[in-house]
Amino acid sequence: MTDPYVAARDLVKRYGTLPPAVDHASFTLERGEMLALLGPSGCGKTTILRMIAGLVTPTSGSIRVAGQDVSALPVHRRNMGMVFQSYALLPHLSVADNVGFGLAMRGIPRAERRRRVQAALDLVKLGDKGGRRITQLSGGQQQRAAIARSLVIEPSLLLLDEPLSNLDATLRDELRGEIRDLQRRTGTTAIFVTHDQSEALAAADRIAVMSAGRIEQIGAPTDIFERPATRFVAGFIGGGTFLDGVAHEGIAEIPGIGPIRMTAVPPDGAVTLLLRPHRVEFVAPGAMPANVADGIVESVVYTGERVSTQVRVGEHRVTVNGFARGQQKLPGDAARLGWGEDDVVVIPRPTA
C-alpha cells in the first residue's frame, strides 16, 4: 500500500487554557483529490488550513505532503498555493504581476514567467486583463486572478479559505464550478474550507465535517448526506426531523407516531431516526406507503419552485419539502404523511 499524498496526523492547536481550537484532527488526501473542511464558524476548519500552510504552528501533530514532513518548513518553502476569502491580491501590482509573483520569487526568467502567467490568465479567462490594476477587476475576476496566482506555481497543495463567500449567489455557483473544473484539469490536490454545505457537497470529492475542533465524519458527499455518523452531521448537512424512540427487531416505536419500518436494522434499544424533508410526501388517496403519520399543517413556505410545509404530528414537527405543483395545503388542514422503508436514516448512537 502506498502512502497517501497528504497526511495530517493528530493535529492539535491550543490557545492558552481555552478548549483546543483543533482537537486531534487526522485525515488523508490522495493525489488530485479535493477535500472540503465543512463546519460552522469557529469549528477549527480555518485553523487546520492555516496549520497546513504554515501560518499557524500546531501544538502537536504532523503534516506530510508528498512523503515529506512539512512541519519544519517555513511558509515560503512549502510550495503551496492559497486562495483567500478577501482575495489578498497586492494592490500595488498589476494583475499579471500578481499572478507572476510566485514565479518571480522562484527566480523564473522573465520570458518564461510571461508565458506561464499568460497561460494561467487564459486558464481563468482573464487572458486580456493582465495589464489591468487590481481595483479595475470585479470581485469574481479578482478571485479568478487569485486562483491563477496559486495555480501558476504548480503548488504541491492548493488551499482555499472560503473562496466564494465574498461573492453574490449567481457568481458563487459559477465560480464554484470553475474552481472544481480547474482543479480537475490541472490535477491539483486541494483542501477547501467552507461553512456552506451545498458548496461542499457540490465541489468536493470528500468532506470532513467539523464541530468544536473535532472531525465528526469524513466521507464522500453521498456518505455524509445519506449515512451521517452523528446527530450533528445529520443536522448540519440537510437537517430534517429527528425522532427518538425504541427499536425492537428492526422496527422503531416512536411515541406519538407509532411503529416505523425501515430498511436499515438498528440495534435493539434506544434509537434516533432522521426524516429528510424531501423524502416525506403527502399521501395520495389510495396509496399505501410503508410508513404513515397523521398531522395538522402548521405553516407553509412557498419559494416558487418548491414548497416547504411544517406538519405537527403529535409532539413532533415534521418538515415536508416538495416541488410546488397542484393544490397547496393551508395551515390547519389535516394531512397524512407517508414515507418508504428506505427513506429513514438511522443515526448511530455514540459509543461510550
Binding site: V75, H76, L89, L90, P91, L93, S94, F101, M105
Partner: protein, 272 residues
C-alpha cells in the same frame, strides 16, 4: 442646500485665511517710503546672498529633520499598523500624545535635557564617559534633536494612515507564494507603505521649514532660518515689508514642494 452648508466654512476661510494672505501680499509690495505698490523688496531679497544662504540653511534643516524623523517614525508606524495587540489603541494614543503639549513647553523641556548642565551631560559626566559637556544645546544639533522629536508624531500618523491598505492576508499570500521575510518586506510592506512615508516626509519638511520657535530657542541665536528671520523682521526690526516678502517666498516654496509631491503621488498610484 449644499451651498448653505458650505457657506460658513468658506466665509471663515475667506476672513481668516484669504484676506490676511492678500493683506500680507499687499504689505510685501509696499515701498520703503511713500505709497503705491512695487516689487522692490522682492528684488532686494532675491539679489542678496544672505537670504540665499538663509534659504539654503532652512531647506537643509528641513531635509535633515524630515529624514531623521521619518526614519525613526517608519518602524514605529509599521509596528502600530501591523500589531494585533489589544493595547494597539493605547499605543497609538501614546505615540501621538506629545501633540497635546505645546511646542514651546516641549522645546524648554529639551533645553533642560540637552544643556551643558542638563540630564544627558550630567549623566555622561558622572559615568566618566566625557570630560567636558557635549555641545547639544544652543546650536544646530539641539535644534535638530528637538524638532525631530516634536514633529515625529505627525510622521508616525502619516505612516500609520498610509498603511490602511495593508492587510495581514497580503503578507500571508506573499509568503505562501514564495516570499521570505525580507522579500515580504521589500515587495509588499514597503511599496504599500511608500505613499504614507512620502506624505510623512512632506509634512515634516513643510512644518520644519516654517518653524521658528524651536530653532530660535534651541539654536541659542546661532541657527538662522527663514522662520526666525521673519520673526525678527516682524517683531524686532519692525520691517514689515521685508517680513511679508520672506513669508510670501516661503509660501511659494511650499507651493512648489506640494506640487512636486502631488506629481509624484499621482505617478506612484498610476503605476500599477
Amino acid at each position: 442646500m449644499r451651498l448653505a452648508l458650505l457657506l460658513p466654512g468658506l466665509a471663515f476661510l475667506a476672513v481668516g485665511f484669504v484676506l490676511p494672505l492678500l493683506w500680507l501680499l499687499r504689505i510685501s509690495l509696499a515701498p520703503q517710503t511713500g505709497d503705491g505698490l512695487e516689487a522692490q523688496t522682492y528684488a532686494a531679497v532675491l539679489g542678496d546672498p544672505f537670504y540665499w544662504r538663509l534659504a539654503g540653511n532652512t531647506l537643509l534643516l528641513g531635509a535633515i529633520v524630515a529624514v531623521i524623523a521619518v526614519l525613526l517614525a517608519v518602524p514605529v508606524g509599521l509596528f502600530l499598523a501591523r500589531t494585533t495587540s489589544r493595547w494597539r489603541g493605547v499605543l497609538v494614543s501614546l505615540a501621538i500624545a506629545p501633540l497635546l503639549t505645546s511646542t514651546v513647553v516641549r522645546t524648554y523641556g529639551w533645553m533642560v535635557i540637552l544643556s551643558d548642565r542638563g540630564l544627558v551631560n550630567v549623566t555622561l559626566r558622572a559615568a566618566g564617559l566625557i570630560a567636558r559637556p557635549l555641545p547639544l544645546a544652543n546650536n544646530l544639533t539641539g535644534s535638530v534633536i528637538a524638532m525631530v522629536e516634536i514633529l515625529m508624531p505627525y510622521a508616525i500618523l502619516s505612516v500609520l494612515s498610509g498603511l490602511g491598505r495593508l492587510q495581514p492576508a497580503h503578507e500571508e499570500a506573499a509568503a505562501l507564494h514564495g516570499a521570505n521575510r525580507l522579500r515580504v518586506f521589500t515587495r509588499v510592506i514597503l511599496p504599500l507603505a511608500l505613499p504614507g512615508i512620502l506624505t510623512a516626509l512632506l509634512l515634516v519638511f513643510v512644518l520644519a521649514i516654517s518653524s521658528f520657535i524651536t530653532p530660535r530657542l534651541m539654536g541659542g541665536g546661532r541657527v538662522f532660518v527663514f522662520g526666525t528671520e521673519i520673526y525678527n523682521e516682524a517683531t524686532v526690526t519692525l520691517n514689515w515689508p521685508l517680513a511679508a516678502t520672506l513669508a510670501m517666498l516661503l509660501l511659494a516654496a511650499f507651493a512648489i514642494v506640494i506640487t512636486l509631491y502631488g506629481r509624484l503621488a499621482a505617478h506612484l498610484s498610476n503605476a500599477p
